[in-house]
Assembly symmetry: C2
Homo-oligomer: 407 residues x 2
C-alpha cells in the first residue's frame, strides 16, 4: 500500500503567499469594490523591455519555420546564453566556465531542488528570517524534525536582527548546507564582501557548502557591494550560486534562472567536479531545460541594449522603494533595506505581531504586505513591503498608509 | 561537513541519451562529413503550427504592453488552459475538475518529481523496458538498493515481452507505486481498456497508486483504445496521470505538460484530497508555474483549429512510423509498435546486444537509434527507432538501412 511522504505533514502552514492570497480574497469578499494595493508578493508589474520582446518574437518566429525549428535544446541551456552569463561574471572578476552554468526555469525551483544532490541527513542552516522555500524544501526532503513555534527541529536558524544589521553571525555547532541570500529577501540587507568572506572562510574550514541566492543582485547600485559570492577568494571551493531573470528583466511569469556549480566545489566525500556532475545528473534526469523561447528572451536581456533597458526597469522599482521608505520614515515607522534591494523591511508599530499588522494594514489602508513571521521566528514583529508595482499605485498605497494607518 | 546524496552513485550509467550523444559525436569526429540520421531520441522536427505560433505571439505582445503585462500566474496554471484540458477529458468520458489539473513544464519533471509526495520507502514497480526517468528518479530518491546487471535491488520490474504483447502481468509481491506508460515508450505497445482495468482493480485492492504516463496519447488512432486511464471505472481512486504537449504540438523545447491528481485518489494513510493537496504543496513550494508565454501556446493548441493542426503533425510523424516499420519488415526485421505510437520497437538481428547493434547501425548505415537495454533488462536484444524526423530524412535513413545494413 502506498503511503505519503509524511514530512509534508510537518509543514506548519500553507506556503506564505497562498495564505496572503486567501486573506486578501476574503477581505475583498467582505468589501466589494475596495481597491486593494498589493505590496505583498514581489511580483513585477512593468512590461518586458523592447529588446527582450524582440528576442522572444525572434524565437517564436524561428520555431514557426521548418528551416530553423528546434526541439530539445542543449542540456545545460543554450551556449550563447551561458556565454553571456559567463561574460557577466567575468565583469565581476569571477571566472566561470560554461559547464559550470546550468540554465533553469527560475531561482525558486533551483533553490529547492539543489538539496537533492546532498545527503538526506544534511543539517541545513538558514538566515532567520529567510525566503520560505529554503526551509520548506528542507522539511519536505526530511532534513528537519517537527515544527515548533521556534522553528523546525534540526534546522539551524541564524538570527538576522537589527543589532547585527540583518547579517548573521557564523552558525554554532555542525551545519552542512548554509543558505545565504544577498540582497536579502525579506530584509533588504546587502552583505559586504567582508561579511561573505567570513562565511567562505568558515565553510572552507568546516566543509560546509554555501547555497548563495543572488536573485536580487541587479538591485545593487553601491559599487563596493558584491554582486556574486564568487567575488570572494576561495568561494568556488565552498559555494554554489543561484540567480534569476525574474526581477531584473520582469521574468516572474516568463520563467528563467540559472545556477552556477563550480567544478572546484567539494564537500566531505566529493572530489572537485563531482557536485557539478551530480547537479548535471539531477537536471538531465528530473528537468528538461528552460523553454527555448524564454532562453532567447534571456539572451536578449543580456545584450548591451537589453542590459541598458533592464537597468531602467530596476531604477523604476528602486524609485518605488524610495517612495515607500521615505513615506514610512515620515510617519515614524522604522524601516530597513530598500536601498540596494527592492524590499523594505519595517518594524511593526507598537510591537504588534506580524499577522495582526497584516490585518490592520489591509483593513485600515487596503494595502497588502507580507508578515515578517512568515519568513521565520526572527521575522516576528516585522513586515515586508515590496517595491514591485506601478509607481502611481505605490504612491497611492503610501498616501493611504500615511493618511489611514491608525498608529 | 556536507556529504553528497550517495544514491546518485548507484546510478549505473549516464542517462541514456547523453551516452547516445557521446557515441554519435565520437563517430562524427572519426567520420568528418558523414551524414548521420538521428532516429534515436524522440525529438520533434516539424515547426509549430500557425495557430500555436499566433497564440505565442499574442502572449509575447501582451507582456510588452503595460495594460496587459502579468507577472506570477495562477498557481496550478492558467484557468482557461485547465478548462480546455478538462473539456478534453470530458470528451473521453472522464470528469476532471480544474483543481485536479496541475500545469507544468513537461511530463519528464512531473514523472520524476511526483515521487516526492510518497514515502521514501515506497516500492516502485516499472514496466521493463521503461522510460529511464521513472527508474533513475526512484534511485536518486533512495527508493532502490544497489544497481546490478538485472536491475536495481528493491525495484520491481514487470517484464514486457513479445510473449505478453509488451503489456505486463500484475506484479508479484508488495508494490506501492506502479508506473504505466501507454502508448508505451519504448515498445510502442498500447494498452487496451481491459488491460488497464486489471491494474486499476489490482491497485484498488492492494492500495497501490498508479502513475500513468499518457504523453503519447495523441498518437492513438484506434477509437477502441483508451486515451486516458480515467476512461477506466475506479481509476480516479487509485491513479494519477501525466501528459505533455511535447509530442502532440511540437513542444519538446517549448516545454509544457500537466498532471492530473484526482481528489478521489487515496492511499494507505491519505484520505481523499490529501494527495491532491500534497502535490499542490510540492508544486507551489518547489516549482513556479510553466512560462506564461508557453501556456498561451498550449491554449491555442487546444482550440478547435489548433487541435486540427496538431492532428496534422501527429499524422505526419505516423506516416514516418509506417515508412520505418514497412522498411524494416521488408528486410525481415521483426518490429512491434509504430501503429498507435510513434516508436518502432525492433528485435536486433542475430540476437545481437542492443549496444552492439547501436554501433553496427551507426557504422554501417549512419543511423542513430536507441539501444533497448537502455530502457531496462528486458530491453536487451531490442532497439527503438523514433518516427520523429523530417519525412525525407526518415526515407533516406530507411533506404540506408535497407541497402547498407549487413544482416
Amino acid at each position: 500500500m502506498a503511503r505519503v511522504n509524511a514530512n509534508y505533514r510537518k509543514l506548519r502552514a500553507g506556503y506564505l503567499f497562498p495564505e496572503i492570497r486567501r486573506r486578501t480574497t476574503a477581505f475583498l469578499a467582505d468589501h466589494p469594490g475596495a481597491r486593494v494595493m498589493r505590496l505583498g508578493i514581489g511580483d513585477t508589474t512593468e512590461p518586458l523591455t523592447p529588446t527582450v520582446v524582440a528576442g522572444l518574437r525572434r524565437a517564436v518566429d524561428a520555431l514557426a519555420d521548418p528551416a530553423t525549428y528546434t526541439g530539445y535544446g542543449a542540456e545545460q541551456g543554450e551556449v550563447p546564453l551561458r556565454e553571456a552569463l559567463a561574460a557577466r561574471y567575468a565583469g565581476h572578476g569571477a571566472s566561470i566556465e560554461l559547464d559550470e552554468i546550468f540554465i533553469s526555469d527560475g531561482a525558486k525551483p533551483d533553490s529547492a531542488n539543489i538539496q537533492s544532490i546532498f545527503d538526506a541527513a544534511s543539517v541545513v542552516a538558514v538566515q532567520d528570517p529567510a525566503y520560505p522555500v529554503y526551509v520548506d524544501s528542507a522539511v519536505i526532503g526530511g532534513r528537519t524534525g517537527a515544527g515548533t513555534d521556534a522553528g523546525y527541529e534540526g534546522m539551524v536558524y541564524m538570527p538576522c536582527t537589527e543589532e547585527n544589521g540583518f547579517f548573521p553571525a557564523l552558525p554554532e555547532g555542525k551545519v552542512d548546507l548554509i543558505y545565504l541570500c544577498s540582497p536579502n529577501n525579506p530584509t533588504g540587507a546587502v552583505a559586504t564582501k567582508e561579511q561573505l568572506a567570513t562565511f567562505v572562510e568558515y565553510a572552507r574550514k568546516t566543509g560546509a557548502v554555501i547555497i548563495f541566492d543572488a536573485a536580487y543582485a541587479a538591485y545593487i547600485s553601491d559599487p563596493d557591494l558584491p554582486r556574486t559570492i564568487f567575488e570572494v577568494d576561495g568561494a568556488k571551493e565552498c559555494a554554489l550560486e543561484i540567480n534569476s531573470f525574474s526581477k531584473e528583466a520582469g521574468f516572474t511569469g516568463v520563467r528563467l534562472g540559472w545556477t552556477v556549480v563550480p567544478k572546484a566545489l567539494t564537500c566531505e566525500d566529493a572530489e572537485p567536479g563531482e557536485l557539478n556532475r551530480l547537479w548535471f545528473r539531477r537536471q538531465t534526469t528530473m528537468f528538461n531545460e528552460a523553454s527555448n523561447i524564454v532562453q532567447q528572451g534571456g539572451l536578449a536581456a543580456l545584450s548591451e541594449q537589453g542590459r541598458k533597458e533592464c537597468r531602467g526597469l530596476v531604477a523604476y522599482y528602486m524609485a518605488n522603494a524610495k517612495t515607500i521608505k521615505d513615506g514610512l520614515d515620515a510617519i515614524g515607522i522604522k524601516t530597513f533595506g530598500g536601498v540596494n534591494a527592492p524590499y523594505i523591511w519595517m518594524k511593526t508599530p507598537n510591537d504588534m505581531s506580524s499577522w495582526d499588522f497584516f490585518d490592520k494594514l489591509l483593513n485600515e489602508t487596503h494595502v497588502v504586505g507580507t508578515p515578517g513571521s512568515g519568513f521565520g521566528p526572527n521575522g516576528e514583529g516585522y513586515f515586508r513591503l515590496s517595491a514591485f508595482g506601478h509607481a502611481d499605485d505605490i504612491r497611492v498605497a503610501v498616501d493611504s498608509i500615511q493618511q489611514n494607518l491608525n498608529l
